[in-house]
Every structure is written in C-alpha cells, then in structure tokens.
C-alpha cells in the first residue's frame, strides 16, 4: 500500500500516474481478489443474525422455481424452452429481471440441493456475497490503476465498510449485485474508451446486457455513457485534439451496448422470449408506476409524492461514514483542480489521465439524479442510489492519496522509505477505522445504523429517521425459557416464506410456529417502523400488556419488540 504502482498525488496526473493508467499489474488483481475473498468470508460469517428480508423470501421462492426449470433444461432442453414450461416457471416474480435470481437458483441447486453444503438461506445468499467480494476487488483494481495502491486499498475498504453496503451485501437481493454489475460495466466502458479493442467493446456491451438483466438501475447506464462521450468530446475540443480519434472508443462502446445489451437481456430472460414487447412493457410499467410504500424521514411518514428532495443527500450524510465522505470530497477537489488546470492551459494528451474520474463524477450524478424529482419513491432508503457508492469510494481513495501526498509535502522528514511505509499504514488505519467501527457496530441491524454525525442510532431516532425495514430483525430472535413450548409467533413484517426458510434451516427454535393472527399469538413481534406502530397498539390491547417482553436495540434504540400475553391477575 505504499503506492508501488505510482500515485497521482491527487494534485494531478504525473508520469507515474499515467503509467499506472496504462496497465494494472497482475499482482494487484490478486490483491484485489484477496480483499474480495476476505470480504466475502466476513459476510458469510456475519450472515445468520440478519434475518431473511421480506424481498429475500420472494426471491428465494423464485430461485427454487427457476432451479426446477434449470433441471428440466439440463435433462430435456426442448421441453424446457416450450412456452408452457417457460411460462409455468418464469411467471414467478416476473416483475424483476432474471440474472441475479438465476444465480440464486444455480447456487441453491448446487450448494443446497445437490451437495447439501449450505442451507436454503445461505445458498441463495451466496451469489450476492461472492459478487460483493468481486465488487470490492474491482474497486481496488480500478482505484489502484488511477491513483495507486494506497488509493485503491482505501477505496475498496471504504466501500466494503459502508454499514449499509455491508448489510445489503449479505442479502439475496439485487441491490449489491446490480451495484457491482453497474460498476463493472462502467469500468468496461472506460477501458473501451481508453483503448477501443474489439474485446473491450464486447465486454462493455455484454456487461451492459447483464446489468439490464439484473435490475432496472441499468437504465441509467446509457445516459451515463452518452454524457461521458459528450464530455470526452468537449474536453478534446477544448485542448485542440481530434475529437473523433479521442472519443470514438466511447462512442463505439455506447453503440455496441445499445445493440448487444438488449439482446443479452432477452437471451437471459426466458419470460420475454415470447410476447417480448408486451412483457417488456409490463416490466417497465411495473417500475415506472411502482406503488408507493411508507418511509419515515425527519419525523414524517411519506407514502405519496411529493417526497422531500433532501432525502438522498441527508440520508447519505447520515449513513455513509463522514470520513469517507470528506475523503471523497477531497478526491473530487483534487481531481477537479487538476482537470481545470489542464483545461485552462489547454494541455493536450491529458484526457487519458482524467477519463476515469470524469466518468466517476458523472456516475455519481446520474445515480442520484432521480431523487432531484419529488415524485421518485424513497421507500428503499439508501439502497436505491447504492450504485453511486463505488464511485464515491473511488473518489475517497483518491482523496486519501491526496492526503498522503499533502502530508509528505508538508512534513518531508516523513518521506524516507521506512517512515513512508509506517505513515501509509498508520494513515490507512486512521482513515478507515471510523468505517470499520461503524460497520462492526451496525451488525446485525444494518438498516437501523447511523453515523455519529447525526448522533448515531439514538440521534437518528430523535431526528425521526427510519429504524429499519423488511423485518430482518427477526433473525436476531432467540427464544428462551420465558417463552413456553410450541409458541405461536406473530411475525409482523417478516414474510412467511422468509420465516419458513429460516425455520427449516434451523435458525429459529424448532417448536416455534408462525401465526397470521396477532390476537392468537403467544409472542407478538413488532418491527419498528413509524407507519406500523398501530400493530404495537394492537398487541397492547390483544395481549393485555404494554410491557415488552424483550427489546432488540442498537445503541439503546429499539428496533424490534416482543410482547407476550399478560398472565391473568
């Protein structure tokens, strides 16, 4: 992490920075994969207390259905692709594209059903966890290419240790996978723009197709590619270089993506093999006209437009470690100053050194742009703009490198090799410690965690910020002797399918049974969400008590209650 591949110094591209931009050393790929592997192991190790989220229940069921189709495909391909068989299997959860769920299905079939290595929950979560590891690896490699190993390392760990990223990285959902595929596609686009070989253009187009088949966040990639290509052209025009020669790689990648991407999506999604246009229109309509769910923000429950435009920036500041944000800001300033200098002086041959940060900045803007409209739903919390976070982390890496360089410039006595190594390690530890501590303290209630800037979870609760959603808190349920045998449990916001998987996997006491009837339950769970408070009051009256049997909390803030029936006086 001593910047062995050369760093830009944050103040602008240097000769070593350009060399870094030209190649990624093989060793860095291995370092990146090593970081990713460590991350994936950490995710596996911390997975179980995070109960299966509502959406995971739906996707796990879909994965099992798709898994059956995959078996038919292996044994009788002609039958598998028939309309009746395709529709019978792929109608399930067809409002979401298939790629990630297909990975869940393959993992379920192999790791659970065939080899029995993992339970159902862990088998469907495994692909997301592995993809999260690959995302960390990608960020390391990309950060290293642009600004050196120190920057790459800080970027990778900053992303991995964003508490909300860490939480979602566990889940058999689409948010982290699409974040990874989104980042990978942008990486491929930049690589194609740098040197437009057929292979790189093909990779970009294929990855765009995979992104389309992952989640609708991919719809924001074409605007990003168009804006980036235009920006490259403007840059070249300003510096007096040939626009066509310098921007044609990006243009080719964009064109190829627009042609090949939809075909890849079609190929990966059996549901749209027939009635393609109608089914695609249904898919688009589902997301464009998605129903509005509830979300608490600053003490108000929002359930319909207009939504507060401050939601995305405030929630980012409240949930992303402040040090990471400050580093990202420093990174933007450092790269911005350097780019402005180049443009003011009209220095030629410098786009290559600035291309990636330009695209990162545009990516962040594109990913946040939907929340400039007050009609964009906010119910997903921070996960809906999580595709921006790898780019924020990359800027944080650049910012860290600029801090390191500034320290060396200011106190040159620290520069000699041994001291530089120590400085690098100490600085990395210092800059990353807040994120790592925040992530560690957020477990297992990631959607309830907030950074000290807003007073942590207690400060956020006082401000009236959401304390969690999807009912994942049920994973922390441990029933002791105070709950009698064969308890009937009202599981509140936890999906029945999610409970059943956790129960069958042995995560929960085996004599416990879920009941849809709050009134008949022996134990009523209450996941705290502002708009669901009415269910707690139902429990008070039904069970004859207002005293929680148990409170699950983060830093003293209740996130789930358990109520048991009051004993007769």
């Amino acid at each position: 992490m001593s910047g062995g591949t050369g760093g830009s110094g944050g103040g602008g591209p240097t000769a070593s920075g350009q060399r870094t931009g030209e190649r990624t050393l093989a060793v860095d790929r291995w370092i990146g994969l090593g970081l990713g592997a460590i991350y994936a192991c950490a995710l596996f190790a911390t997975s179980r207390p995070i109960g299966l989220a509502r959406d995971e229940g739906f996707y796990a069921v879909a994965a099992q259905v798709y898994g059956r189709w995959l078996r038919i495909l292996m044994n009788d391909p002609a039958r598998a692709v028939s309309r009746a068989v395709v529709d019978a299997h792929w109608a399930t959860n067809h409002e979401h594209p298939p790629f990630i769920k297909t990975l869940f299905a393959i993992s379920f079939e192999q790791l659970h059903r065939k080899w029995g290595l993992l339970g159902v929950a862990e088998s469907v979560r495994a692909p997301s966890i592995v993809i999260a590891g690959l995302l960390v690896a990608l960020v390391y490699v990309w950060g290293t290419r642009v600004a050196g190993r120190f920057a790459g390392f800080v970027a990778a760990v900053s992303l991995a240790a964003m508490p909300r990223v860490f939480f979602h990285a566990h889940l058999a959902c689409f948010d982290i996978p699409v974040t990874a595929v989104f980042a990978a596609t942008v990486y491929a686009f930049v690589r194609a723009a740098e040197a437009p070989t057929r292979g790189r253009i093909a990779w970009c187009a294929l990855l765009f197709g995979v992104a389309l088949a992952s989640k609708h966040n991919a719809w924001f990639l074409p605007p990003l590619f168009i804006a980036s290509t235009a920006l490259f052209a403007l840059w070249l025009r300003r510096t007096g270089e040939r626009v066509k020669a310098g921007a044609h790689g990006a243009a080719l990648a964009l064109l190829a993506s627009m042609i090949v991407g939809p075909l890849v999506m079609w190929a990966l999604w059996p549901w749209i093999w027939r009635d393609t246009l109608a089914r695609l229109a249904e898919y688009v309509a589902f997301h464009v006209h998605h129903e509005f769910y509830n979300m608490e923000f600053l003490g108000q429950n929002y359930f319909q437009p207009p939504f507060p435009r401050s939601y995305a920036p405030v929630m980012t500041a409240a949930t992303v470690p402040t040090t990471t944000l400050v580093l990202a800001l420093l990174g933007v300033v450092a790269r911005g100053r350097a780019a402005s200098g180049v443009l003011l002086r009209r220095t030629p041959q410098m786009l290559a050194a600035h291309r990636a940060p330009l695209v990162w900045a545009l990516a962040v803007a594109v990913c946040y742009a939907p929340w400039l409209r007050d009609s964009t739903p906010i119910f997903g919390g921070t996960k809906h703009w999580m595709t921006a976070y790898p780019f924020l982390a990359l800027f944080a890496g650049v910012g860290a490198e600029s801090v390191r360089c500034a320290i060396e410039r200011t106190w040159p006595a620290l520069v000699p090799a041994m001291r530089r190594a120590i400085l690098t390690v100490v600085l990395a530890a210092l800059l990353l410690a807040p994120s790592i501590v925040a992530t560690d303290r957020s477990r297992p209630f990631g959607t309830s965690s907030y950074v000290p800037l807003v007073g942590g979870a207690p400060g956020a609760a006082t401000l009236g910020l959401n304390r969690g959603f999807w009912g994942t808190q049920t994973g922390a349920l441990r029933l002791d002797a105070r709950v009698g045998p064969d308890p009937r449990i009202f599981i509140h916001d936890t999906l029945g399918a999610s409970w059943d998987i956790m129960h069958d996997d042995g995560w929960l006491r085996q004599d416990a049974r879920r009941t849809p009837s709050l009134a008949q339950a022996d134990l009523v769970l209450q996941h705290h969400e502002m708009h669901m408070q009415g269910q707690e009051y139902q429990a008070w009256v039904a069970l004859g008590t207002t005293v929680p049997w148990h409170i699950w909390e983060i830093d003293g803030v209740p996130v789930m209650f358990g109520f048991v029936r009051a004993l007769p006086p």
């Binding site: 944050g10 429950n301 359930f303 470690p321 402040t322 040090t323 400050v326 420093l330 450092a334 910012g399 801090v403 500034a406 320290i407 200011t410 600085l427 210092l430 800059l431 410690a433 807040p434 501590v437 925040a438 303290r441 950074v451 000290p452 800037l453 007073g455 942590g456 979870a457 207690p458 400060g459 609760a461 006082t462 009202f490 509140h492 916001d493 849809p516 709050l518 009134a519 502002m530 708009h531 669901m532 408070q533 009415g534 269910q535 707690e536 009051y537 139902q538 429990a539 008070w540 009256v541 039904a542 207002t546 005293v547 929680p548 409170i551 830093d555 003293g556 803030v557 209740p558 209650f561």
Partner: protein, 305 residues
C-alpha cells in the same frame, strides 16, 4: 497559500476521522445500561405518584421505561396532557418533552444519564368524568335505523387486524349487528403521527345513528364536554372517506355536534354544558353517524371537565 492548502489537506481528513471515532465512543458510552434503567425504575416506583403523568424524552426510549415503571395504557394512549395536574418527565441526556413545554418545573434530580423532573401543570383542566373509564356493561349501545340494541359480552374472540389491519377489538365489547367492525369497544388507534390514542371504537352504522348512552353522569360538576376523535391514520390519510358526525345530548337535548373530516387526524371538540345544580346527574348520549359508512374506523374519547 499553497502551503496552507497543503497543510489543510493533510490535517482535515485525519481530524475528521479522529472526531468520528470519538463520536462512536460518545454514542456507545451514552447508551444507558440495564442497571441504570433498573435504578431509575426503582427510584420512580418509590417516589412517584402513580396518578401523575409519566413521559419519557426522547419518546423512542419510552419502551425501556415501560419495562421498569408502571405506565398504564390510559396514560400511554392519552388524548392530551391538559387533564394532568402533575407530570414526571424522564429526560435521557437532558432531553425534554415538547408535550410538557407549558408545565413548570418543581424539582429535578439526576439519576445516572437521566434527569427526572417533577412538573406542574399551571392550568390543569381536570377530568370530572371520563367516558372511557365508564364504558362497559352499564353503557347502552344501540342503532336507530333499524332500531337495534347491541349486547355486551366479556367472551368475544379477540380480533386484531395484524399488519396494516384494524385496531384490536378486545374480548369485552358490545356485539352489534353487521359484523365485528360494527362493534363498540375500548381500543387504541395510531393517529396521524402514529401515536397511541385510547378511544371507544364506534364505527357508524350504514344508516341512522350509533348511540352510546351513559346514565347517571355527574353533569352538574362540569362545565363542558371535551373530547377528541379520529381514525387509524392509514384509513383516513387518503382523504377519500365520508365525514363522520358526533352529537352529544343531555337527557335528549342536543348540546353540540362535531364533524371529523378525513385527514383531520386526532382532533378535539368541546361542547358547553347547560347550567345545572352541582349534584345534577343526567343521561349523556353520544350519537355517531355518517353518509357513507365504508371504512369509517371511527374512534373517540370524551370527558366532562
């Protein structure tokens, strides 16, 4: 200038990191321990008048207090604080309750991370008669069109709506024609801020009035009827339902009407009582009606003051 910027770049992020780490320590150390909550509970159970209102600030910390101190459902689901002459406020790390802003401080004592304040209401509006407390088998509940009489039972099956559903109908309630929603019962609803409001569930009938009659009400000792009404917020927030009217009658004579519009949330009403001798008692009827009874999860509370 360049050197200043360089120094700034060198120190800002490390300083922010150190401050953020300090913030984590501060947040962690600020969490009250179980022992501190227990100590608070023990102190309050000895020193507090059970009739005094107990409020926890910030509100999210209240469930911890409920595990240590008796907080009856009537207090938790209070209509407002005006009826209480005194209050005890538990403030975590100095937090104050906006609800008690008008109360004056009589004493304050620090117990661990808490400040326990004894507060006086400078202008208490004391309750002479509470219709919620009086609601029970002696209440008469009836419908006018058609003329029906609801019957009291202590053995009805408890019904609760569950996720997104209706408030709980307890086993002790009036059974009326038209299904469980037509019941009359004491329950707790979530208001527009999702706060608990204890009230009498009085879903109006399709036609005519639903009349709740209370006999031997000491009207001579009070000057007015003070009440609140609303619905489970999820029902009324779309603002598509019909208005609901509540009418108060003393021995058959109307003294006031109030209308609840969808979107009003938990709102108050006041009717002046006619002058009467101090020992006067009367039958008070509260009649509820609407033009369209679909999804009218109406709930009200009323007192004589």
């Amino acid at each position: 200038m360049r050197r200043v910027l360089s120094i700034a770049a060198a120190v800002v992020a490390p300083c922010v990191a150190i401050a953020e780490l300090g913030g984590h320590v501060a947040v962690a150390r600020g969490v009250p321990t179980e022992a501190e909550w227990d100590r608070l509970g023990e102190t309050l159970s000895v020193n507090r008048d059970p009739g005094d209102l107990l409020v926890v600030a910030p509100r999210w910390a209240e469930p911890h207090a409920r595990r240590r101190v008796d907080m009856p459902i009537a207090q938790l689901g209070r209509a407002d604080v005006s009826r209480f002459a005194h209050a005890t406020e538990i403030g975590l790390h100095g937090a104050r309750s906006e609800e008690l802003a008008a109360f004056t401080e009589r004493s304050a004592v620090a117990i661990g991370p808490f400040v326990v304040r004894t507060l006086d209401n400078p202008a208490p509006d004391l309750v002479v008669f509470d219709f919620l407390e009086a609601f029970g088998p002696s209440t008469r509940v009836s419908g006018t069109v058609p003329a029906v009489r609801c019957t009291w039972s202590d053995r009805e099956p408890v019904l609760a709506g569950g996720l997104g559903g209706h408030p709980t109908f307890p086993s002790s309630r009036f059974d009326c024609l038209g299904g469980p929603f037509m019941t009359a019962a004491l329950t707790v609803i979530a208001d527009e801020r999702f706060l608990p409001r204890r009230c009498i569930w009085a879903h109006p009938f399709e036609r005519g009035d639903k009349v709740l009659a209370f006999d031997q009400v000491p009207v001579g000792r009070a000057r007015r009827v003070v009440g609140h009404h609303g619905m489970y917020w999820m029902i009324e927030r779309d603002r598509t339902g019909a208005d609901i009217e509540i009418e108060a009658r003393i021995d058959g004579i109307t003294i006031g009407k109030a209308v609840h519009h969808d979107g009003d949330g938990w709102s108050g009403f006041t009717f002046d009582l006619p002058r009467a001798p101090p020992d006067a008692r009367a039958t008070v009827e509260l009649a509820v009606r609407t033009s369209d009874y679909q999804h009218r999860h109406y709930c009200f509370e009323a007192t004589l003051r």
